[in-house]
């Protein structure tokens, strides 16, 4: 399916970098010459509390803002979004559009048979990625889990290029970035995990790339096609 707009909802927990992930995605889309907007949605900032972010990517100017009620893609950054209902909507896939994709960071299936059937009825494809394991293996820290969530959605939908993601990552972490106190301290935390800034960028990029490749492979194997483009031209 080719769509003028791809709406991505990222449901995570405070501290996992869901907000950063949406920002990096949107920055990359902008570098690719697409239109994009990202924005977060959270309560008082605290770790492990529900935090969502949204990334909209399209081929025309985007006005829509705020919580994404009807997404094409839902990414679940943490199993607790599902198992403990740490989500702004119940069930977490509420509002997903027909033909959409759900990407879940978990090394084991989490959905009930009923949920699986409902998603099937809506022709929604379901992809599990062991994102935290990949992050630990390649980057040596679970803080890089968000990189696997960026990589997987980019691999499946091709909505942004790896090249643009590389540039966006450098822009976000290569220079000083001031946001809230919470974001600043998290930035410091992740920087301390790596000996050098170049190492941080390289390992996060490698983590992202692995997830990207897994996404490409899965989409090909399962014939999942969800793209941003001009449907009129494509037809």
């Amino acid at each position: 399916m080719i769509k003028k707009r791809l709406n991505i909802r990222m449901s995570g927990l405070g501290g996992q970098g869901a907000v950063t992930a949406a920002h990096v995605m949107a920055m990359a889309a902008n570098k690719d010459g697409k239109f994009s907007i990202s924005n977060p949605f959270f309560g008082a900032e605290k770790r492990m509390a529900p935090a969502e972010s949204y990334c909209r990517i399209g081929i025309e100017r985007i006005y829509d803002r705020g919580e994404l009620v009807f997404p094409d893609v839902i990414e679940v950054f943490h199993p607790q979004v599902i198992t403990m209902g740490k989500s702004y909507t119940m069930p977490f896939y509420s509002g997903i559009k027909e033909g959409g994709v759900v990407i879940i960071n978990s090394d084991m299936p989490l959905l009930s048979d009923e949920d699986v059937q409902r998603l099937k009825d809506l022709h929604v494809a379901l992809f599990y990625i062991a994102g935290t394991e990949i992050a630990l293996e390649i980057a040596g820290t679970e803080l890089s889990t968000n990189m696997t969530m960026i990589g997987s959605v980019a691999g499946i939908t091709q909505c942004v290029s790896m090249d643009a993601l590389d540039q966006a990552l450098q822009e976000r972490f290569g220079k000083k970035f001031v946001a809230s106190g919470g974001t600043a301290s998290l930035d410091e935390a992740i920087k301390k995990k790596f000996a050098k800034k170049e190492m941080l960028l390289a390992k996060n990029l490698a983590t992202m790339k692995r997830a990207y490749e897994l996404g490409v492979e899965w989409a090909e194997k399962n014939h999942v096609e969800l793209r941003v483009g001009n449907p009129a031209v494509a037809a």
């Binding site: 920002h23 949107a26 920055m27 902008n30 239109f35 994009s36 907007i37 990202s38 924005n39 977060p40 949605f41 309560g43 008082a44 006005y63 829509d64 803002r65 705020g66 919580e67 994404l68 009620v69 009807f70 069930p91 896939y93 509420s94 509002g95 997903i96 559009k97 409902r118 809506l122 001031v178 946001a179 809230s180 106190g181």
Partner: protein, 403 residues
């Protein structure tokens, strides 16, 4: 003594060139940048020749206030300090403006409410302070999410009130705002509002003017009232205020001064029209069905119009940019042929719809909605549904989607 030679073309201590504001805003080259709204506020301030910024943390404006602190550290702001509360901040802003400084501050939601006493005081004292209001919920239970109810409270303070739709509006209006506020026949504070998070925390493309060009500095001698000399305060005001007298002359003074403040709001109209290119903006205003909105509701309206267009239905748009001065005549003209007027709002009471109803004939044409509040999002789909339902058309049920 007032400067008698122009500073235009000369450089400030940071090497920025003082530039004629009209030229800066309309002719200088622009660079597209991908920024959050908070970063855009910082970039506007970099170019604003601001003397004093006073900060106090409250979501969602904290990020902007912190970023302006960085700007101060870089040397672009005359002075920057933190208040004890929003009430203290707004009082300190008054002090700085009384002293002849160009003043900037940011607040949100409960902070705006806490500081409320100061706003009519600013207007009465004719202080051209600029305050960014990144609207959020004000009621209990607590919410940090966008809700525009606080704007309703600002409308009768005597401040100028503008409502930005995007970060681009914000960038341009911060700089243009000072030009309107500081006119001698206006000289009033400006509340430049936006919907928090939707603008402040959203990354979007914004076209920025060159960083090495800045506004001409504020000239306090253009004030219509004498600026306060703290070494020698005007004793009649300080020691013998009118409140001490209960006689005809004190009532008459108060009454005429309030009228003068609102006359100044009226006089800002011509300047606001010049700088904002009109108090409203219209698209396809000849359509039978119109959406009239301000702030983020305009953006959501634009998306709803696209969805309806795909179904072959033509809907027009009126974007209300300035709320004070109120564009009653403009809205009356723009809506004269409309059969249905929808006013989507991010607040529970529908203050914009009330203002519009009071300004146009046959106000039963106004549908005061859809409205969301308490931080809820307004997906374009619910605007579409509201329009279709009101027109007796079939619409898809939204409640059942996907669950």
């Amino acid at each position: 003594m007032a400067e008698n030679k122009s500073v235009i073309g000369t450089k400030n201590k940071k090497g920025q060139t003082y530039t004629d504001t009209w030229q800066l805003m309309n002719e200088a080259p622009r660079t597209p940048s991908f920024y959050t709204g908070s970063e855009v506020i910082k970039e506007a301030l970099r170019r604003a020749s601001c003397d004093v910024m006073i900060a106090y943390p409250i979501t969602p404006q904290s990020e902007a206030a912190a970023l302006i602190g960085e700007l101060f550290a870089e040397g672009y702001i005359g002075d920057y300090f933190r208040g004890e509360s929003e009430f203290a901040v707004m009082s300190q802003c008054a002090g700085a403006a009384f002293g002849g400084a160009r003043v900037f501050t940011t607040t949100a939601g409960p902070g705006t409410m806490r500081a409320m006493e100061n706003f009519p005081m600013w207007a009465g004292a004719r202080l051209p302070i600029q305050m960014i209001v990144t609207c959020r919920g004000i009621n209990s239970p607590l919410s940090i999410q966008p809700d525009t109810l606080e704007i309703a409270y600002l409308l009768n303070t005597g401040m100028l009130v503008w409502h930005a739709e995007t970060a681009q509006d914000f960038f341009d209006w911060i700089l243009k705002g000072y030009m309107v506020s500081e006119e001698p026949d206006v000289h009033l504070p400006l509340a430049l509002c936006c919907d928090g998070f939707f603008v402040t925390h959203t990354k979007d493309v914004v076209n920025l003017t060159p960083a090495d060009m800045c506004l001409p500095p504020y000239d306090p001698y253009r004030s219509p009232v004498p600026c306060m000399d703290m070494e020698c305060p005007p004793v009649r005001m300080m020691r013998d205020p009118f409140i001490m007298k209960s006689n005809y002359i004190s009532y008459a003074t108060h009454a005429s001064w309030q009228q003068e403040v609102w006359a100044a709001v009226e006089r800002s109209r011509k300047h606001t029209i010049k700088w904002l290119n009109g108090l409203i903006e219209t698209e396809n205003a000849d359509a039978d069905v119109l959406i009239v909105a301000s702030g983020t509701a305009v953006s959501q309206g634009r998306e709803a119009i696209r969805l309806l267009e795909d179904e072959g239905m033509r809907v027009g748009l009126v974007k209300v940019k300035a709320l004070r001065p109120w564009p009653g005549e403009e809205i009356r003209e723009a809506t004269k042929n409309a059969k249905h007027i929808f006013v989507p709002e991010f607040n529970v009471t529908g203050w914009l719809a009330k203002e519009i109803k009071a300004s146009i004939p046959n106000s039963e044409r106004v549908h005061a909605g859809p409205r969301v509040c308490g931080g809820m999002t307004m997906p374009p789909e619910i605007i579409v549904q509201e329009i279709k339902t009101a027109l007796g058309m079939k619409s898809m049920s939204l409640a059942g989607r996907g669950s």
